[in-house]
């Protein structure tokens, strides 16, 4: 384990940024966002960013290819290129876990080369949470906010920052900043971990468990009467989907430029009425069906296909952002018979 004084943090950033673009949470009007580090950019103290970190690997809009057309002829232009190397600093444990969930979708055969390309060029430095919010429930899904993982785990105290590499990529990056860090024992980090563990017990959502859900429970929950009242006031907007670190549905669309066509993909939401709309009908005509699809996918379908891993990481963004305050915690409690 290595450490450095917080006073040296900017120097560490500068050193990392010499070799790769460095992104980190920065305070902005309306909440923290990931921004590219430049001389003078300061690291946010906020618990988490408003948007999740999935943008780094699965951006909201991404050009996939271009077409040139001439008369009846079409030329397909592969516009992919190697992504630049980049480092993301300050990713929380929940978002780190979300990458694993996205990996299982995008890196299974056939591998999504757009995602894989970004993934291969990114190094993730995580940060333990010392002050989780009341909306946090990562522990529900077995995530440890005190051991955030990824390529390098970090812990921040009032005066120092501690680094521990978890992967080869992380080792490499950590050795590149060796001049600014020093070896240390784990006492301070262990103390922080113990403190975090105590806090986690006190969180209001600490008692939520996903035990009632999981693969093979489709018939148990699909026709549950609770869906009706849960989805009753859902607006059908895409807020929960778009702030969610694990939602990965996308749309593929064409855009006519002045001299060709760009085919791009962009985030889509199963909450939208046109998500499953075809020329001759729609399999989910009501908001109830669309609402159910989102939560069934996270709590039943995803675990069924992925060895019991749930499609939610408990980051709490949907709890904070839903216009009508309907969210996965309320759904789990209601379906689980607790509310």
């Amino acid at each position: 384990m290595r450490k450095c004084s917080l006073d040296n943090l900017q120097k560490v950033f500068a050193l990392i940024a010499e070799n790769a673009s460095l992104y980190l949470p920065v305070d902005k009007v309306g909440g923290a966002v990931f921004e590219k580090w430049q001389e003078g950019t300061s690291y946010s103290n906020a618990l988490n960013t408003v948007r999740s970190a999935k943008d780094f690997f699965f951006p909201q809009t991404e050009n996939m290819m271009e077409f040139k057309t001439k008369g009846k002829e079409i030329e397909v232009v592969d516009t992919r290129d190697e992504h630049e190397d980049f480092v993301v600093f300050g990713v929380r444990a929940c978002d780190v876990k979300s990458f694993e969930i996205l990996d299982r979708v995008f890196l299974c055969e056939p591998v999504d080369s757009f995602y894989a390309n970004r993934r291969a060029h990114g190094v993730i430095i995580s940060m333990a949470c010392t002050r989780p919010s009341e909306t946090c429930f990562c522990q529900t899904f077995g995530i440890d906010a005190a051991n955030p993982g990824a390529d390098i785990s970090c812990w921040k105290t009032d005066s120092e920052i501690f680094f521990e590499a978890n992967t080869e990529k992380g080792e490499k990056l950590l050795s590149s900043i060796a001049a600014l860090t020093e070896d240390t024992d784990e006492a301070a980090v262990e103390a922080q971990k113990a403190k975090i563990a105590e806090i986690m017990k006190k969180l209001p959502l600490a008692g939520i468990t996903p035990d009632k859900f999981g693969g093979g429970k489709t018939s148990e929950f699909f026709n549950a009467p609770q869906w009706k009242e849960l989805s009753q006031s859902c607006l059908g907007c895409g807020t929960c989907t778009f702030v969610c670190p694990t939602c990965q549905c996308y749309d593929i669309r064409d855009f006519k430029t002045n001299d060709g066509v760009i085919r791009f993909r962009c985030w889509d939401s199963c909450m939208y009425s046109d998500f499953t709309k075809m020329a001759h009908g729609n399999i989910r005509n009501s908001q109830l069906e669309r609402f159910r699809q989102r939560f069934m996918h996270k709590l039943v379908y995803y675990p069924e296909n992925n060895e019991g891993i749930f499609g939610c990481v408990g980051c709490g963004r949907c709890l904070a952002k839903c216009p009508i305050s309907m969210n996965i915690v309320k759904v789990m409690k209601s379906l689980g018979g607790e509310a």
């Binding site: 855009f255 430029t257 002045n258 001299d259 760009i262």
Partner: protein, 145 residues
């Protein structure tokens, strides 16, 4: 818009079928010159111009958008241009509120008899837009590649 390495503003002019388009015709018949970069789109009435048409024009590379209709009171459909007047007042004020240069948008009433006014208006408007340079604030980079 760049023409042979030289900047020429691309102007989209929405002209109502009954007055302004005829006015443009008259300008042509009378050999009154106006810039060739003014692209005229004929509409049945100036009030046919949906605000989205204007935004799309800017997106696709227009540097200025002008709407021409019958003089208030002379609308072929009695009141169409009165609605245009309200809508465009609000829309253009909003565009300006968002920081889009106010010289890039204009409404002008041109009758079928005002060929000279049509040509003069286009010359003047083109000049005003040219002074601003390219439209950067409502452009879509995807269209300019």
């Amino acid at each position: 818009m760049q023409v042979n390495g030289e900047y020429k503003p691309l102007i989209v002019a929405f002209c109502c079928n009954w007055c302004s388009y005829a006015g443009a015709d008259l300008a042509g018949n009378n050999r009154l010159a106006y810039p060739e970069n003014v692209k005229i789109i004929k509409v049945p009435c100036s009030c046919r111009v949906n605000p989205m048409f204007i935004l799309r024009a800017f997106q696709r590379g227009a540097d200025g958008v002008i709407i021409c209709g019958c003089h208030p009171g002379d609308c072929h459909y009695t009141s169409g241009n009165y609605y245009t007047r309200r809508r465009m007042s609000l829309l253009f004020s909003m565009l300006n509120f968002l920081g889009i240069e106010k010289e890039r948008t204009r409404v002008e009433w041109v009758s079928a008899a005002e060929g000279a006014k049509f040509a003069a208006t286009m010359n003047e408007f083109t000049e005003a837009v040219a002074a601003l340079g390219e439209n950067k604030r409502l452009e879509d980079l995807r269209c300019k590649r």
